[in-house]
């Protein structure tokens, strides 16, 4: 029949749509590439991202008329090389993104476990805290905190961690509630283990999978929030390059047709978030034995 043709189409579709049965090569390559770029930014970037040549302002990318090889992706309103700023911006996004995710993860998972396993007033307190925290729109909350403590890279990480731990706490608590009823936890109680031991030895290792998956999914959210904060001027302070900041600066040039100042950083943000989401999606299916096809 049309077996071979349909098989070929299936493979093509799967590859193109990054289907979750196979390892998401493209997503991981993108993330890996961004990581590489972030680490070797000093070597890769052709120019200093913070120094601009005022005579070279608003140069379009090399393939457009008026572009030059000196500024492959164009230059911004201060004559700074867009490519170099994107490269160093990757560093900011990755560092801030990963660190914030880890901070939120540790905090959220820890509180989620305590809340889920101990129950009682501990659970009530943590959940009310989570509820009220969650009720605040993340961005507004982040802006508020940034305004209070002042913008700096370290502060942003802490702020993002504080804003997003609640997502973890909720999910992990739910898992712990069902884990608590599992036989091996009951047997640990019957064996005489203390609550602390049970949480450490039985609960934590079994929620790590979810925490990791959640982490990859949160990476995208965190990066977007960081970009938004930078866009609004309360994120990473200039002249340090951050993609969000580049968006803010570039916004002014849109009407004049300087599209590369917004589209390029926007693309970078999109690629990172998309890749993180695809990876998280794949991990979720891979690590959850229920969803995996036998």
């Amino acid at each position: 029949m049309n077996g071979s043709r349909s098989a070929a189409l299936t493979v093509a579709w799967r590859f193109a749509a990054f289907r979750t049965e196979g390892f998401p090569i493209i997503a991981c390559s993108i993330l890996g590439g961004l990581l590489f770029v972030a680490i070797f930014a000093n070597v890769l970037a052709p120019h200093d991202p913070e120094v601009g040549a005022l005579g070279e302002r608003f140069r379009p990318p090399v393939w457009q008329q008026g572009g030059s090889e000196k500024f492959l992706l164009g230059s911004d309103h201060l004559g700074r090389d867009v490519l170099s700023r994107l490269i160093f911006g990757a560093r900011v996004s990755i560092v801030v993104g990963f660190t914030a995710v880890i901070v939120a993860g540790v905090l959220g998972t820890g509180l989620g476990i305590l809340s889920g396993y101990l129950g009682g007033w501990v659970d009530q307190v943590i959940m009310r805290l989570t509820d009220s925290w969650l009720a605040l729109p993340a961005l507004t909350f982040a802006i508020f905190l940034a305004a209070v403590v002042g913008p700096s890279e370290m502060n942003i990480v802490i702020i993002l961690g504080l804003v997003y731990w609640t997502r973890y706490a909720r999910v992990i608590r739910g898992e712990v509630l069902s884990l608590k009823e599992r036989d091996f936890v009951r047997l640990a109680i019957v064996a005489g283990c203390s609550k602390r031991t049970i949480m450490k030895r039985h609960i934590l290792p079994n929620v790590l999978n979810s925490a990791i998956v959640l982490g990859t999914l949160m990476l995208g959210v965190v990066v977007v929030t960081e970009a938004a904060l930078s866009f609004l001027g309360v994120g990473v302070p200039p002249p340090k390059p951050a993609w969000g900041l580049m968006l803010a600066d570039g916004k002014k040039g849109l009407m004049a047709g300087y599209w590369w100042l917004t589209v390029l950083p926007g693309c970078c943000i999109m690629l990172m978030v998309l890749s993180a989401n695809l990876l998280g999606d794949w991990l979720r299916v891979k690590l959850d034995p229920q969803l995996r096809q036998l």
């Binding site: 091996f184 047997l187 019957v190 283990c193 203390s194 030895r201 290792p205 079994n206």
Partner: protein
């Protein structure tokens, strides 16, 4: 006769049902309602009954996973309710459990030797070598090869995992093991292996068992005494073979009549009950079985029967009670 190892007297466990915004209690689930039984040293008490009868809750009470609402539970003569932390630890050493699902009983992220050693390291201060030696002995005791120790649960079949669970339950040399449907989740050809193992261990180590299963033949095979539960109460209790061959309570009769035959020619007196098992939230008045009982009399809906010695066992039924 030696005193019983475990004694339950008028054991009661009620669960409040809460509803509404303020979680007001609107009712009570009488999961275990005035239950009395005992388990002798080196003997097996089989608990049978259908959903909602309270056997799982009874197991939880015995394992101290729940606290009773009323009544007494005595282990080696001492009431386990008033135990301090030290006492609870001592109780946990003596009373262990094996549960139904071999795939859920073992922490998938721990190696087998750590799983088996867990009770040991929790209760005793032993050095690594001593722990390893004891674990190795336990693995051998349940008939598993030595290399089992370093592997993870997922590398084993259901029957093998259940052996690991049994090995773990024996780590502290307990006196009573609660077996909650220990073979129901296993393949038929493996069940006999595990049941034989359990019997051998009982003979070897003098263990007492609280054996809960829905396979009546397995319960009759393994138990010295059987207690039949219905909606939180014991309706019949006595010697296993006596009850299995000559059940007296109508519910017990229906239960054993419903058990599947072991040969096509084996005919059993049909005794099909009408209706469903009522909810323990709202049990029928007086004799809880009377709405479904084929021998119900007017007395059954007004007067609650009590356990009375009849024909070599105890039955809670007006059919055998002295006239009012």
């Amino acid at each position: 006769m030696s005193p019983p190892l475990l004694e339950a007297r008028s054991l009661i466990k009620h669960f409040p049902v809460r509803r509404g915004l303020l979680s007001r209690p609107v009712g009570v689930v009488r999961a275990v309602d005035d239950v009395t039984f005992s388990v002798g040293v080196g003997k097996t008490l089989g608990l049978v009954g259908e959903s909602g009868c309270g056997k799982t809750t009874t197991a939880k009470l015995v394992l101290k996973l729940e606290d009773p609402t009323g009544g007494e539970l005595r282990f080696e003569g001492r009431d386990i309710r008033g135990l301090d932390a030290e006492g609870v630890k001592g109780y946990r050493r003596a009373v262990q459990a094996v549960f139904q699902d071999p795939f859920a009983s073992l922490n998938p992220r721990m190696r087998v030797d750590a799983i088996i050693a867990e009770p040991l390291v929790t209760h005793e201060r032993l050095d690594g070598a001593e722990v390893a030696k004891r674990v190795s002995r336990l693995i051998d005791l349940v008939g598993l090869p030595e290399r089992t120790a370093r592997l993870f649960p997922h590398e084993f079949s259901g029957g093998q995992r259940q052996r690991i669970a049994i090995a773990r339950s024996l780590a502290l040399s307990p006196r009573l093991v609660v077996l909650d449907e220990p073979v129901s989740a296993l393949d038929v050809s493996i069940r006999a292996q595990i049941l034989n193992l359990l019997r051998d261990l009982q003979a070897q180590l003098g263990l007492s068992y609280l054996f809960i299963a829905h396979d009546l033949a397995a319960v009759a095979h393994m138990s010295h005494t059987i207690a039949v539960m219905y909606l939180g109460q014991i309706v019949e209790i006595g010697d296993a073979q006596t009850i299995a061959t000559r059940p007296r309570h109508p519910y017990t009769q229906a239960l054993f009549a419903a058990a599947l035959p072991s040969h096509p020619a084996e005919t059993r007196e049909e005794m099909v009950l009408s209706g469903e098992v009522p909810s323990p939230l709202n049990p029928p008045a007086a004799c809880r079985f009377h709405p479904r009982c084929p021998h119900a009399m007017p007395r059954c809906s007004t007067e609650e029967p009590v356990l009375r010695e009849t024909d070599g066992r105890q039955v809670s039924c007006h059919l055998y009670a002295s006239p009012a």
